[in-house]
Symmetry: C2
Subunit: 363 residues, 2 copies
């Protein structure tokens, strides 16, 4: 896929000018691939794009990684630096005379602090208030990539319903999920949470050596990257028939998740989507067990703006994509979560995950 990087850089510069920002520095994280189609390796050698108002943007890249860069001379200039050069010095010189700089949110502290020391008169801030204004609204090509990534995970979810869970460890099933993520068309499997029985009450549980057995509820939450864009979905499985209690709580969760999705449309505040899910779960008496926000934006980053959380009164708009993933977690007993990625459309919502959301009873 290729995007109009020139247009993105132009839009970024217009925002910089509006906000009185003299330079934007993009390193690890998704601002860099958004702006020029190149992703920095998360290592101790600095990769950094320097965007200023008055010259072609410069990509500093370690010399040994320069062959990885797809050059786009009409968009940016490549400046490889060798092992005995000082990349912070090079960036500092490019920033001479610039009063206000913003840096990508995930840039390493070591680089930010070194730049601040070198440029004591310069003001540093984070780039996301600028870049999110652009990155939040996906264009048709981005939506297409997110749709394809979502549908690829849907196929994994469908295959999971037919699989045997009992007797396998969480780690083993997690590996199988990662393999299926690739088989169904992703270039990378980013994560595959398998949280069984009481482990399900830990939303970010790491799949471990617990052997799954009859009576376990199992949270499977997984995603990957397809053409640079992320997928992320959660489905619930139960080894053997669940108890009536589990079914009843699950019905509450299904209702909350569906209602939150239905609440999505242009003009609605992000926090109102969270409130919709939370009100239903609270009314059923499980409010204190829904211990996280309802969702997060998704795109080039697995988590990005907008966040669907109380306190965020930002108004949703067409082209925004995010997860809707309420959960209920009873410590020491079990957990449950249902997660879909959705896109705000012109008048409502499109689900990018369409696989069966019902509790799957597995062997």
């Amino acid at each position: 896929m290729t995007f109009d990087y020139r247009a993105r850089l132009d839009a970024t510069r217009r925002l910089m000018e509006t906000h009185g920002i003299g330079a934007l520095l993009a390193s690890v994280g998704a601002d860099l691939p958004y702006l020029i189609g190149y992703e920095a390796m998360p290592l101790e050698r600095l990769t950094m794009l320097v965007v200023t108002g008055n010259r072609v943007p410069v990509l500093l890249v370690p010399k040994l990684e320069a062959p990885r860069v797809v050059e786009r001379p009409e968009v940016f200039e490549v400046r490889p630096w060798s092992e005995t050069e000082d990349p912070i010095g090079i960036v500092s010189r490019l920033l001479e005379g610039v009063g206000s700089v913003v840096v990508g949110d995930q840039t390493w502290a070591t680089f930010v602090l070194a730049l601040e020391e070198r440029l004591p008169a310069t003001r540093f801030g984070v780039a996301s208030p600028l870049t999110r204004a652009l990155r939040m609204r996906k264009d048709p090509e981005e939506l297409d990539a997110l749709r394809r990534a979502g549908h690829a995970t849907d196929r994994v979810a469908a295959r999971l319903r037919e699989m045997r869970f009992s007797g396998r460890t969480e780690a083993e099933l997690s590996r199988l999920v990662a393999d299926m993520i690739i088989e169904e068309g992703h270039q990378a499997a980013t994560f595959s949470i398998v949280a069984s029985g009481p482990n399900g009450a830990s939303p970010h549980h790491e799949a471990g050596e617990r052997i799954m057995q009859t009576g376990d509820a199992v949270v499977v939450d997984f995603g990957g990257k397809l053409d640079g864009y992320c997928s992320d979905t959660t489905r619930m499985f139960h080894v053997g028939e669940p108890t009536t209690e589990y079914r009843e709580i699950f019905a509450v969760l299904e209702e909350a998740q569906a209602a939150a999705v239905d609440a999505v449309r242009p003009g609605v505040a992000a926090q109102d989507v969270d409130r919709t899910a939370r009100a239903i779960i609270a009314a059923a008496g499980y409010g204190e067990y829904f211990i996280h926000r309802t969702g997060h934006g998704i795109g080039l980053d697995a988590h990005e703006h907008p966040y669907i959380v109380e306190g965020n009164d930002f108004e949703l708009d067409a082209g925004m994509t995010f997860s809707i993933e309420p959960g209920i977690y009873l410590p020491g007993r079990f957990g449950m979560r249902i997660e879909d990625i959705v896109a705000v459309s012109d008048h409502g919502v499109e689900r990018l995950n369409c696989s069966d959301r019902h509790l799957a009873v597995v062997g």
Copy 2:
């Protein structure tokens, strides 16, 4: 595995006192697992250990990730924060009255800049000058973990020599390597570079859709995590017989790599190990094609101190572990690299990778 975290924290505090540092903040990166055995998720919700001189260290962790934390009340206190709390505010209050703070090198810019804004009178620096003094010298348990990780990759390297390369894509072989990394005992496969033919001239090439064929030299550079510790080794393969030219250049590389390993012992400067490898490659006329340093430290982080690079006159000492990985890269034609992890012993060096280093001719 469990380590004496209390002793590590005590040693850290003594260093803080010596250097006049009032607080250390550990977030993403390896300082945190080194100090308390917990690894932060690299996400937008803040995880941060606050170590000050006068109280039990506090681990701030997102509420939904609190169940992941193995609690060690004698070592640190857990402070889960919920979605509507302000974690930067909590850290700022813990830092009241502290004049000088160091933060882990990989901490996200967004957190560092927010803390600086909240605490304008506080001086911020990076933690590695402090923590590397401890983390560089591995204790016997750490060496054991690194040895087991090294030997696990050796078994993968041995299996690779028997495999068919021809007709497979780089990406396909890369997936097989990742699977073998797990099969041989790692908990995670971190990376598996497969760079064939001209792609071999790009040291950090990402395995792609190129189909390997007779006549290709193939760089395979891979590693994972075993009990928290990293492995990293590179071996060279050739599909069918190589040319005389390739054999001759490879002999130079073998000599350079072996000489650099032999140069390692306590008291030698890191840069002298680099110079040993570089002199041999330069004498053969390939100096300009050895475009990176000779090695990097390894431990909880895949890349850490000490770096084996010109300009680093730091003296090696027993217990330090790092890679020795010279390479020669002819743009547009081919590349080659041989990489072993070594440990400085009391009087010399121990190789943690012992698999066959000779060029493997494969089908």
